[in-house]
């Protein structure tokens, strides 16, 4: 049938509202870019270039290189082991390997600092065992890279794993039947096919690395994010911070472009959802033990060890963070996250329905805009939101003073609203992805079927759409909720005066060398981060079942390239 038969024009109001949302999301990013054109820009830029910029570029580049290679090796290796082989514990590893994602890198940094510092348990044992030389300092560029690899490899793992699963049954068997052994088959068929997935996963890991503030600040590594933060707060130089933000944004866009380029025109993902799990080769003896160890190590480094360290610290310092204060912090975090999650889901519904109604290029472009926000580091968004908001505030204050004579001070800046706005810019793509995945399951034909059975538009929405969307909306809200709970750089810059969340408190306490007091709150963040992982692992378990059974699960947005 002609494509025209499918098309229907969405109501103009929906389209207009969606465009407005897109503009709101794009505004901070555009503001940052515009800062380059500021009149005093040239001079600031020259100053930056002659002083701190070379350091920022060098350390950021080294960090990206190390994290990119580390996550690729660990993520691809573990994914290959659990999909193509059978060994003791494989089933458990298959879902447990995503657990390090629950740790924000900065929390991991605190745990390892405590574990490995001179007075810490490891060095204590080593000295007792007669080892006199000090260990290399974890609070370094190399240490930061290790932290990132430990918590971010699951991005590569998840994407590589599904790529392997998709191709495992068919192509590997073809390669084997054409005379390739298991190892050559992996190198010549599975790996090249999984390459785009691996690249996409590493790309996500690098974006998180570029966005990080907590870890590098704590370890004293000079990167763009710490530079932006310092320029904003210590030096009060908004132009410089905006220019650094632009440079960082440029790096992110370069990454995105590289990822697109790597994917090329080839479609490496099979959208049919038809997967036949291949028959994994059984490993025995030392090979089986080696495989189990290779999967166990990242899990221990990225989850078990730091969790144990934090737990020990929290128990040893139980009560140092008064329960009342803890509850207030948790309440702050919770309400920020809940408000953002609700708004994000509502806006995602708006965007998704607008796209469904029009199916145009315009809708795809809006989607891309929302995705850009997700790729933009929180510090950049903070600058991008604050610059226009302070200007608006000054204008508002002037207007109010002119009208009433009263001096209202700054209304918007430093308020919750600006912070929630920044969160929305950053995380809207996450919920949009989940909502769209859920909405995609409701085909236009289902609407038609309901209408032909006598249900009007309202009844169709209530009896068909609402029940089918419920789970997807919940997933979307959860993902945003957890992301906001963990978010640090934007919160640090934009939170109202005297307003603390779990994340900012953990960061502040850790920066003051009061790790013990921070441990309880850090564990709370990790516990919240485990929630979406339960969703992922349930999905992983479901994928191994016969086709069709997986229909109920909306795709997890957070681990897919927006």
């Amino acid at each position: 049938m002609p494509a025209g038969a499918e098309r229907r024009r969405g109501p103009a109001a929906l389209r207009g509202a969606a465009t407005a949302v897109g503009a709101l999301v794009a505004a901070p990013v555009l503001t940052v870019c515009a800062a380059v054109l500021a009149p005093e820009g040239g001079e600031t830029w020259r100053h930056l270039a002659s002083t701190v910029l070379p350091d920022y570029v060098a350390s950021t580049a080294w960090l990206c290189l190390a994290v990119g290679m580390g996550t690729t090796v660990v993520g691809t290796g573990t994914a290959w082991l659990v999909t193509m082989h059978e060994f003791p514990g494989r089933r458990a590893f298959e879902w447990a390997l995503v657990m390090p994602l629950a740790f924000p890198a900065y929390v991991l940094a605190y745990a390892y600092t405590d574990l490995l510092q001179f007075s810490g348990p490891v060095q204590g044992w080593l000295r007792a065992a007669g080892w006199e030389r000090p260990l290399p300092d974890v609070r370094s560029l190399g240490g930061a890279a290790a932290m990132f690899v430990a918590v971010l490899y699951p991005y590569v793992y998840l994407l590589a794993r599904s790529a392997f699963l998709e191709h495992a049954s068919g192509t590997t068997e073809v390669a084997r039947s054409l005379g390739l052994g298991p190892w050559p088959a992996f190198l010549r068929v599975s790996l090249p096919l999984a390459r785009p997935a691996v690249a996409a996963g590493a790309g996500l890991a690098l974006m998180e690395t570029l966005a990080d503030y907590g870890t590098v600040a704590y370890f004293g590594v000079q990167t763009f994010t710490t530079g932006i933060y310092r320029a904003w707060f210590s030096l009060g130089d908004r132009v410089a911070s905006a220019q650094l933000a632009t440079a960082l944004l440029g790096a992110v866009l370069l990454l995105l472009a590289l990822e697109r380029l790597g994917r090329g025109r080839a479609r490496f993902h099979d959208a049919t959802g038809r997967r036949r799990p291949g028959s994994p080769g059984r490993l025995r003896g030392w090979r089986a033990a080696g495989a189990a160890a290779a999967c166990g190590l990242p899990l221990a480094v990225g989850f078990a060890v730091p969790a144990a360290v934090l737990l020990r610290l929290a128990l040893a310092h139980a009560g140092t963070l008064p329960p009342g204060r803890f509850l207030r912090l948790a309440g702050n975090s919770f309400s920020l996250a809940a408000v953002t999650a609700l708004l994000a889901v509502a806006l995602s519904l708006l965007l998704a329905y607008a796209a469904r109604a029009s199916r145009s290029r315009w809708a795809a472009a809006l989607n891309r805009v929302a995705g850009l926000g997700y790729a933009t580091p929180g510090s950049v968004i903070a600058v991008g939101v604050l610059v226009p908001v302070t200007r608006l505030d000054a204008w508002l204050a002037g207007a109010i003073e002119g009208a009433t004579g009263a001096r209202p001070g700054l209304v918007l800046t430093g308020g919750i609203a600006a912070l929630v706005y920044a969160y929305l810019v950053r995380f809207l793509a996450v919920s949009l992805h989940a909502v769209e995945a859920a909405l995609a399951r409701i085909t236009p034909r289902m609407d038609d079927a309901a209408r032909s059975l006598g249900a009007g538009p309202g009844e169709t929405l209530r009896r068909v759409h609402a029940p089918l969307l419920r789970r997807g909306l919940l997933t979307a809200a959860l993902l945003v909720f957890v992301d906001v709970m963990k978010e640090l750089p934007a919160t640090l810059v934009m939170r109202p005066f005297d307003f603390d969340t779990l994340a900012t408190t953990v960061f502040a306490l850790a920066s003051d060398e009061r790790l013990g007091e921070a441990a309880g709150a850090a564990l709370a963040i990790v516990a919240a981060g485990l929630v979406p992982l339960v969703i992922v692992s349930r999905q992983i378990a479901r994928e191994r079942r016969p086709a069709g059974a997986a229909q109920g699960a909306p795709a997890l947005g957070a681990v897919e390239v927006p």
Partner: protein, 364 residues
């Protein structure tokens, strides 16, 4: 007056006319079919009847009520027209029984339950009522979709390529089953398909569509034996065109002999008695194998069909023919066999439609 009437119906998308001036009518209790290649506008026509597309011109009437036309557009939910979709479009969050019950609104639960179990029994799924759609096979989903459409007792049932997503075996069996179900329900139905076998198996009246227009509307028998145009001749059934000459008195001469038309004029153009050139359609069942016949043709290719062979033959003059021969006549390729023409209806077109409008391989 007929039950369903389409009168000059046109549908356009953004200035592009997809259905143009479609008119046909269907008696109550009959099954009609729109047949045509993909992109001919047949699904759009069906969606216009259902009310999913607005008419650009023309009128749709059902039982005397105007459903759509100038200034009238009854929304689909008020038309009482059931529809079965190509993708079935079952609601994935509802069980089979709940899907069937979806359109039964405003009835007391016991009555509704009775109606649902009655329908499930009719489609032979009485024990699968608690299953979810994805737990059913394609054929079962198809039947549930039909039961769901029939449940509210619609005045008309529309079926959009209802068997396209099923494999060939199932398709044939289900099309007969569905026809019986529709007949048992006394339903009037319109089916859309690109498969002539499906159309012939299910429909009382078939319309062939091309580029948004209805080119011929009639009984399957007439479409096959009295196609109104080379396109219809090609689209329904196999056959070849051979060049011929009208020799007057309803007779046509071709290489293989002289054909006498029982039906009216062999040539659609009048004034052809003077011997104008035509293309003559020869169906595979028009060419009969007869060892005693003086006419000979060489076997060029053969396809085994179980009960019969479909031979592709070449005459001395170089014309290609198709012939259906009972399968115990197993001749080798290259062999020369005797043939005889047994043509009931001479179909001739004035316009020579190319060398072989319907080549031997063009149809399954």
């Amino acid at each position: 007056m007929s039950f369903l009437e389409l009168d000059g119906v046109s549908v356009a998308f953004g200035g592009h006319t997809v259905v143009a001036g479609l008119s046909f009518s269907l008696e109550a209790g009959r099954i009609g079919c729109l047949l045509g290649p993909s992109g001919c506008g047949k699904t759009t026509a069906l969606r216009a009847i259902a009310g999913f597309e607005r008419l650009a011109a023309g009128e749709v009437r059902l039982g005397g009520d105007r459903l759509g036309g100038p200034g009238v557009h009854l929304p689909p939910e008020q038309r009482r027209i059931g529809m079965v979709f190509q993708e079935h479009a079952l609601f994935p969050h509802l069980t089979v029984a709940e899907n069937v019950a979806f359109g039964l609104r405003g009835q007391e639960p016991p009555r509704r339950a009775r109606r649902v179990s009655e329908l499930l029994a009719t489609i032979g799924l009485e024990r699968q009522g608690g299953r979810y759609p994805h737990e059913l096979s394609g054929g079962q989903q198809q039947r549930v979709a039909l039961a769901r459409a029939l449940a509210p007792g619609p005045r008309l049932v529309l079926l959009d390529e209802p068997f396209a997503s099923l494999d060939a075996d199932l398709r044939e069996r289900l099309s007969l089953e569905v026809r019986e179900l529709l007949a048992a329900a006394g339903a009037t139905a319109v089916l859309v398909t690109h498969d002539q076998h499906e159309a012939f198996a299910m429909a009382d009246q078939v319309g062939v569509m091309r580029e948004g227009r209805l080119v011929q509307w009639g009984r399957p028998y007439d479409l096959y034996h009295r196609p109104g145009s080379p396109f219809v001749a090609d689209f329904v059934g196999q056959g070849v065109f051979v060049p011929g000459r009208v020799v007057g008195d309803g007779q046509v001469e071709i290489e293989l002999g002289r054909l006498r038309a029982q039906a009216p004029a062999p040539c659609p153009r009048s004034g052809c008695e003077g011997g104008c050139r035509v293309s003559v359609l020869l169906r595979p069942d028009d060419v009969v194998h007869d060892e005693g016949a003086p006419l000979r043709a060489r076997v060029v290719a053969k396809a085994f069909r179980g009960a019969e062979f479909l031979y592709t033959l070449e005459t001395a003059g170089g014309s290609r023919l198709l012939s259906l021969v009972p399968s115990h006549h197993d001749h080798a390729v290259g062999e020369s066999i005797g043939i005889r023409l047994d043509v009931d209806h001479v179909v001739a077109f004035h316009q020579p439609p190319g060398e072989t409008a319907a080549g031997p391989d063009s149809r399954p």
